[in-house]
Amino acid sequence: MKMTKIVRTTADLFFPFCLVFGLYVVVHGHLTPGGGFQGGAVMATGTALLLVARAYDDVTGRIRKGAMKACEAAGLLIFLCAGFSGLFAGRPFMANWLAPAGQWFRTFVAHGPNPGDLNTAGLLPLLNFGVGIEVLGGLTVILLYMLSGIKEEKK
């Protein structure tokens, strides 16, 4: 199933913006509404957009299932390892040991109006990132599997 050139071009044009906006939601997860799951879902929408606008094989050429599965596994592993890192800092599983200690994620988020410093909240941005790429991978794989029916109907 192939749509008109206008639709295809627009979809191509919007695809990177989907990814960037999703990444913004992921990265700002600890400051503004949103977070790993929401951002990952937004990024996966990009795939849905391409799938609707283009032929199935065209999309799988660009977005590979294997890479997405790797994304999923990597995200889950980042999440688990971040959880484990608490143990080695002498704290319980999932403890936010980075928050007051490290150089990069030094501070807690300031009360009241603030410019939205990203280097706050310790371990949380890392967890958001892990969840983000996990959801990106997982939802994209689901989309690719489910919409593979499009290919068959064409015949």
Partner: protein, 526 residues
Amino acid sequence: MMDTFVMRHLPALLIAVPLFAAFLMPIVGNAGRVARNAWVLLGALATSAVGLALAWKVLATGTVLYVFGAAAAHLPLPMDSGGIPIRIVFQVDALSALMVVIASLSSLGITIYSLAAESRQSGLETFYAMLFLLVAGVLGMVSTGDLFNFFVFLEISSLAGAALVAYRVDNGVAVEAGLKYALLSTLGALAVLTAIGILVGQYDALNLATLASRLQFTTLDKIALVLLAVPLAMKCGAVPMHFWTPDAYTTAPSSVTAFLVVSSQASLYGLFRILFTLYGHLLQFSWATFGWFLIVVGVLSMFVGVTMAIPQKDVKRLMAYHAVSQTGYMLLGVGVGLAVLGNADALATYGRTAMAGGLFHIINHAMYKGLLFLTAGAVFYRAGTRNLNKLGGLGHDMPWTMVFFMIGALAIAGVPPFNGFASKLLIYESVFRFSPFLSIVAMIVSILTLASFVKVFHSMFLGPRRAEFAAVREVPAPMLAGMALLAVFVVAAGLAPRPFVDHLIQPAVDALVDRAGYIAAILGGS
């Protein structure tokens, strides 16, 4: 030993190890068959080791608390929490320890078994990943002290369970059963979630102990109790909500079925936890009513289960109905305990014994029913059919499977010296003093169970060799090893039930009755 790094973080490892094993599975799977099998074995061994070590620690030193993400793992009320345990707390008491032991032993046995039994299938990475997720879900359900966390693990185990039921996708019936299981589980989980919403909206707490100490038993709380109890009773396969069990148990791969039994029992644990710990003292004017509710459901399950089982032709379907029937014994034993909870004399003389019988039956059932499902899987593996009318004469070529089947069948029928007899004897004795009629029903059901399994044994293993099964040989060693692991427990707990009852079951009974202790472990005081 008691305070090493690993020992301190056991509750976190209990969940993290199987999850880790599951998440790395797609990556390890690329490295080939041997690497994958080694990884699976390693994951299963590590999970069981952590589970058993945790249970040992709980039984040796009392309730183990683990606060996720706090400054210190053992303080449920740190300075920054404002008097409410806002973080997720794992609270592993003796009852949880019993369930953890069951899940650890059973998961190890079935994983070893499936290494050989599933080797002919494709998509094994997903299969093992789902199996580890199921194990993690069950372990989480029984060890969490947080109501919402319980819901999450319930959903994890349901989803993984449904995916495993439907694992043999090439066969439409399996997907149908998986769909049925997933649909019912989701509906049940939605009811549980609504109940959680009702409780949180009123009391601003998710922690079981905190909720238990704040509960007022308003009308909304009563609605919440129904919304919690009914789905959990459904998930443990009690009549009249047992209709999903035969389908799911029959179509799932046998090793998965053996663990679905444990997963049902985790729901049973949830039911007991909610009736005894969460709502315990609020029911004090109606303990007898709720006790009788459990008893009636239990007796119905026993009777309906066994009568439905007898005419079945599919051996796994028959066993699934027997699983419903055996769940009835657990409900009966614990129900008698709940009914006499207000009467100190009766509780001391027979109530505790009845509960001990019920809880002992949980672990025994997980072992012998797991064993029976594994033998059914072994027969299917070689003979290619589960139809009792077509099977026959397999005893000549599959002697070990036959022996294991005999052990399981005699145990489920309550024949000495196997573990089924030990727990059923506790139930008979104590229930007889509560109500002789119920005890007699329980014995009749046992006799019917024996009759049913004699028939199965006869039609599967006895008789002359058949031409169509000429190629049948004994199953591969890993399958035998998995069955042997469960069989050893069945025999050991039957020959020497005393140590099991004294050191594993009695503490669990105490934990179930001791509601104040459960709350005090979190909130302090007594």
